[in-house]
């Protein structure tokens, strides 16, 4: 028995020994150098807002046009939802109506309340008209209703409605809806010389297949027209004296990525005022500001234009061929603080404008005119050679980052990033990279004290441009490499300085570039 127990103990011990085997991962180290990035950077790559152009001599110029205001007057010259009613009673106490007999033939003008405006004409962009008639007569009748001066392609809005017999107490109704998009309305009324007047006609004929009936003066028939949601895109008349406040808020995202000092020389920024409406106005720019959201600093643009009303003349011509009134205002070094304004490096451009229509009243005797695309526009235009000075101007951008570099698996152990650059800009660059975790905390950085040299330290010529060639190394130590798995973002920071021989101001070549090759030279730890 004891012998059997010994065998079992031996057997059990053997199994324990066999299952106690624990295997750590097989690993070894290798080194690899590979090109990771091969790209050419231009200012256009960094500035997606299309701010630059060629000045014709190969020099980069600032060239952009931004619309600060695009004011559509159709919102100010509108026809409100309106109901007009044309009622009719026969003039005699009573008379006999034979089948097929036309016994009502009435024309009437209706007045629109347009809140001070006196329109003689309106083009309808969209809207709806509902026509409703009521038959109080004891015989079916044919209602021929018409708005003779509401036309589309020269044809008046007109409908024939057959309505069943009704009573004075309970008239029979009939309605029809009409989409009046692209209709035009003549608001001069029956006389042809009035304003805000709309003519309507009503004809009623007894049913030819009906019976002979008696009609009295107490039988009131009516024709109701409901105008709803009319949008005007053309108008003529006097639009009234109106005051409108407008604001603008424009973003140029590029400026969110830069900080530091920039100075601009010989600038010329132009504000363009354009009026394509046939009306006069007074425009006052209450303020234009540049706000840097990083520093919280706002700089107000200073110029004689600011806070001083400008008279805006009317456009000329007709709706098929009109010439807008255009007035420009130049912002120059001697009349503005534009350098400080742009040097604030804010991405937000905002401001307020006050517009007054017809400040002098009805000076053109009802000849204000609004065309389909009439607007008052304020544009900011720049078209100037860029001569600037950068002192430690920092361009910073953040990108998503995702690298699984678990040390439990094959991973990047340590190494270096080698940047080989050919720079054709007279700007040197000092690059650094911060790795952020999911809470945006910096978990590690790589940087170098070496710079990408400015083209002023020229060592070669490419495409006619002086260029310098640089090689910069960034060490990636083992501690940071092991933390890369928790990095969720990478912040790329480029610190830039311009170089010139005299004033510190320099131009930039339009065809400038930085050809970039980034190599990774890594120790990789394989784990199986």
């Amino acid at each position: 028995m004891m012998r059997k127990i010994n065998y079992f103990i031996l057997f059990a011990l053997s199994i324990v020994a066999l299952t106690a085997c624990k295997k750590e991962k097989t690993s070894w180290n290798s080194t690899y150098k590979v090109v990771l990035v091969n790209d050419t950077l231009r200012l256009d790559n960094l500035v997606k807002d299309s701010l630059f152009a060629d000045d014709g001599a190969g020099i980069l110029k600032l060239s952009f046009e931004r619309e600060l205001l695009n004011f559509d007057f159709s919102n100010s010259v509108s026809i409100p939802d309106t109901v007009i009613v044309q009622k009719y009673n026969v003039a005699v106490n009573s008379f006999t109506v034979q089948p097929g007999f036309n016994f009502v033939n009435n024309v009437k003008d209706h007045t629109f309340d347009l809140r001070g405006a006196k329109l003689t004409f309106a083009g309808i962009k969209s809207g709806e008209v509902t026509l409703e008639v009521q038959n109080p007569y004891p015989t079916p009748a044919i209602f021929d209703v018409s708005l003779p001066k509401v036309k589309k392609d020269g044809i008046a809005l007109s409908k024939k409605l057959t309505v069943g017999a009704g009573t004075q107490a309970n008239p029979t109704k009939a309605t029809v809806k009409v989409d009046v998009s692209d209709y035009v309305i003549d608001l001069t009324g029956t006389s042809g010389t009035g304003f805000n007047n709309l003519q309507s006609t009503l004809k009623v004929t007894a049913d030819p297949n009906g019976t002979t009936v008696q009609v009295t003066k107490y039988d009131t028939t009516s024709f109701k027209v409901t105008f709803k949601d009319l949008k005007v895109n053309r108008a003529k008349g006097y639009f009234g004296n109106q005051k409108v406040q407008q604001s603008f808020d424009e973003q140029i995202a590029f400026f969110d990525k830069v900080s530091g000092f920039v100075a601009i020389e010989d600038y010329n920024l132009r504000l363009v005022l354009e009026n394509s409406c046939k009306l006069e106005g007074m425009l006052k720019i209450a303020g234009i500001y540049n706000k840097n959201n990083s520093t919280g600093t706002s700089v107000a643009l200073q110029h004689s234009l600011i806070n001083n009303p400008i008279f805006v003349q009317s456009a000329t011509g007709n709706w098929q061929n009109y010439q807008p009134f255009i007035r420009t205002f130049d912002f120059l070094p001697n009349n503005s603080n534009l350098s400080d304004f742009i040097g604030n490096l804010g991405s937000q451009f905002y401001g307020n404008l006050d517009i007054e229509l017809n400040p002098n009243g009805d000076t053109y005797s009802g000849w204000n005119e609004l065309f389909a695309d009439s607007r008052i526009k304020v544009k900011l235009k720049a078209d100037m050679p860029l001569k600037l000075k950068l002192e430690n101007l920092i361009f910073k951008d953040t990108f998503d980052f995702n690298l699984n570099n678990s040390t439990d698996k094959t991973h990047l152990k340590q190494g270096q990033l080698i940047l080989e650059a050919i720079n054709a800009y007279p700007i040197d660059l000092l690059a650094s990279f911060d790795f952020l975790d999911e809470n945006n905390h910096v978990i590690g950085s790589v940087s170098s004290s070496e710079k990408v040299k400015s083209s002023t330290e020229s060592s070669l010529t490419v495409n006619g441009l002086n260029c310098s060639k640089s090689q910069v190394s960034f060490a990636l130590n083992e501690e940071l490499a092991t933390q890369l798995s928790s990095a969720k973002k990478i912040v790329v920071r480029l610190t830039t300085n311009t170089y010139s021989n005299n004033s510190g101001m320099t131009t930039l070549p339009y065809n400038g570039f930085v050809t970039t090759k980034i190599y990774g030279d890594f120790d990789v730890k394989f784990k199986l």
Binding site: I15, L18, V35
Partner: protein, 406 residues
Amino acid sequence: MKIKYTLCFCLLLSFHGFGQRLFPTVIDTTKNTREINIDFSAEIASTALDNQILNRILFGGEISDKAISDNSNRQKLLNRGGSIVSGTIQYTDLKTNLFKHEKLGFGVQYGYDQIASISYSDHLFNLAAKGNKDFVGSTADISSTTIRNFAFQKIGFGIILKPTKSSLFLNVVGMSNYFKGGIGNGSIRQSESLDTVTITANGNFAQPNSQTYLKGMGLSLDFNYNIPINFFKNDHAILQAQVRNLGVVYVDKGVKHYRVDSTYNYTGFSFEQLFNGGLTNGNLLDTLGIKREKNSKWVALPFYVQLSKAVNEEYEGKFQSLFGLRVYPVASYRPLVYVGADYKPIANLHLGLMASYGGFSTFRGTFYLQYKTPHFGFGVGVDNIVGSVYKKGLGQTYNIQLICRF
């Protein structure tokens, strides 16, 4: 007592591993027993990697730069290697008459098998083990690369023929790991400045879609047929025919297949690709010319066939001859032939010495020891004598067997 302690020592020395069936099989004629049999086997072998590397692959740990340098020098144009790890715990009952048939016993077993194999060029070894700097301005040839790994467990029930101990087991198989791939013609060309890498490849790769531990289920057969024969001067001998793991696995979520037959010129990524989401798995595969092909559902198990002359426990002489042939239908595995002799110095003890050629390696020497009593038996063996004691040997194989009868 001394023997027991020696046995314990031998076992504990070899507990690092593994073991599978003792190599070769010793067949006795005990018929009326119940038996628990545990086999473990671990083999790692190569035509060009020595134990400095293989030991680290087998047991884990860091491969030193010196080991990589030593092995780099011995790589040939095309090299092979592989590993087979398997273990089985089997209960057999020869006391019970299955189906009331006095010649039939039964058994149940649980086993684990893993076979991994690789064929590779010397250039690929240097690329993987040392890095790419040896190939600056030149071309690395990675043609004829194959890689394959298959791991599965099985649980089965079998019928055993008592007189000869021939058996047939039907197993339910669970596949836990599978991938295979290869490159027919392939090269990696690097420019002098390392700014251009040209990859030409004609290859394929397959792996299951499922990320779960159990990736597929299937059925397999283990067949063992012992044939008594007369061998020289009418001595009784036993010819053993074995087929193991003959079966298929159904992969419910399918096996995804990738194929590439293109040349890709890599010159680095643009900032747009790196930073603005221009580089996704989908378009990276497209860029590299890698096409995803239709899923397949069925995977054949890596079965093997062995024909051998087994050791006959009933043989009365001290020496018996041994020989056999083992075949795995795996590209990196050459048919293995072996020949040797079994020596029985005392009752119940067998010592053996054999020479083999093929498999994942070339020539190897085998030594084994088996001791059996009516209630307990054990065996240990090494299929690569040189590799077991010499770090520059080309692999190691250890077998261990424990038997408990009651």
